[in-house]
Symmetry: C2
Amino acid sequence: MRAGNRTSLAKAITLIESSNNAHKEEAQKLLQELLPFTGNSIRIGITGVPGAGKSSFIEAFGTMLCKMGKRVAVLAIDPSSSLSGGSILGDKTRMEELVRQENAFVRPSPSAGTLGGVHKKSRETMLLCEAAGYDVILIETVGVGQSETYVRGMVDFFLLLVLTGAGDELQGMKKGIMELADGIIVHKADGDNVRPARRTMQEYKQILHFLQPSTPGWLSTSLTVSSLEKKGLDIVWDMLMEFEQTIKQSNYWTTRRHEQTRDWFHTMITDHLIDSFYNNPERKKQVRSLEEEILHGQLTVTQGVNALFGEKNE
Amino acid sequence: MRAGNRTSLAKAITLIESSNNAHKEEAQKLLQELLPFTGNSIRIGITGVPGAGKSSFIEAFGTMLCKMGKRVAVLAIDPSSSLSGGSILGDKTRMEELVRQENAFVRPSPSAGTLGGVHKKSRETMLLCEAAGYDVILIETVGVGQSETYVRGMVDFFLLLVLTGAGDELQGMKKGIMELADGIIVHKADGDNVRPARRTMQEYKQILHFLQPSTPGWLSTSLTVSSLEKKGLDIVWDMLMEFEQTIKQSNYWTTRRHEQTRDWFHTMITDHLIDSFYNNPERKKQVRSLEEEILHGQLTVTQGVNALFGEKNE
């Protein structure tokens, strides 16, 4: 795998994703051995509403990077494929050119499971790709639900893809999504759409000026891109390189990664506590019935909590 | 207390805030008896950067409401008084006119404690004020830290106070604060400042157009107010009445309050689980040492979690 064998990497990821207990132990041992070789990529999260053209952007952008000699891994986080109409990466035919590149590794999203589970696996998959020598990790997520916050919590740069007519298409997106973004790409800036795309880009720049930056020390910006005509893709890469240089200089690069790992650890502890608390049909029933009493004004919230944890109410 | 005696209400709040175990039980019994009389106010959260003039706004707005015959309770949430330079309501002299009104009840922020503790008490204090017949509850919070999200989670309407020169002063505020707001007041719109304030108001209206509404079915809007010249305060009240009517018609009023209560219950359960887990010096030390191993790349996050919960790593 370390020698760049893609089949070995794919096998390692399958091991990480396995729910078999023996596999889990083996996977963790493998990952532990590989930890010293992780961390050397630029981790980029990519989101956008369905229809924004995330797949065609990743195809065009990833192919350009491969041709520049970069090794590019593409992962997808799609915990809600039933909601979003299926994983985009499931439809690999749309990434025909990219998957043919020797320097590319495209991994469809893991099979559905709990949100936490999927994300845990995605982080570990990202580390495996780094250990296998990939320099650019593109992590795709759909612009709905909670996955953006998770992805923001595991990447260096977060990219939002939008279309012209700013504002309207944001209605379908998660609240606060713009404040997660380090860069906003107005996509499909081709043909008659070039001028409206530029106008939209200006509008986004203005809005970004009012919002808090997603990364301290970096002024989030907006660009236009045409994946169809392959225009603006190099500017995106320049932006990413400028970002990396700026944030590394301020030392926030490492600080953030440490914070992300720490947060991930604490989130997993909390998830474990909540899971083991609710993982009991009797407990679930009790919580539901206390909830009803509270909503009907028969019990205070404090009394409800005391009842659960066996503290006296009277 | 139900007869409108302010001294009784103040005593009941002190009982709710007490950390004495016997008092706690008594307080919960009292609150349980009063639950049927709660829920009949409009709950308004008010935030803004230090210097935005929250106290003078509450003084002028609350006094106007009292003169209209409303009964107004003012509470403060200030879990970080060391950070923010002290509770604003601690300085009661700035609300001289309001505290003289027979229909007003002004309660300074409870003494510091855990964030969860302060907020738990604030919610219960709010319910006590409702049971005592107050129709308007104003809950003030400082525009830094985490308290806005908590306050947003306990009120019907969330009001943000800003000054002219939009954007600049937002830099000191919490990320995403604008998306929590149902209304943004450009304050101190008096004298030479009237025209810049109107311009700023227009800018905010434009930005709000791009953001997701804080309350489904309500288009968040912006107004100018001068508390000094008592201008625009009636428009604020008109806005609140329109909001109440609109949201009650769509039934979201009750839906949101139920959601808020349910979330509060589940947050308290989670807080309890986390507190009891970490409430052990040995455990804390173990978590810190695992954290170090993880950050130094000696252990995977999953191995760290397994070590805590006694699962085998190898």
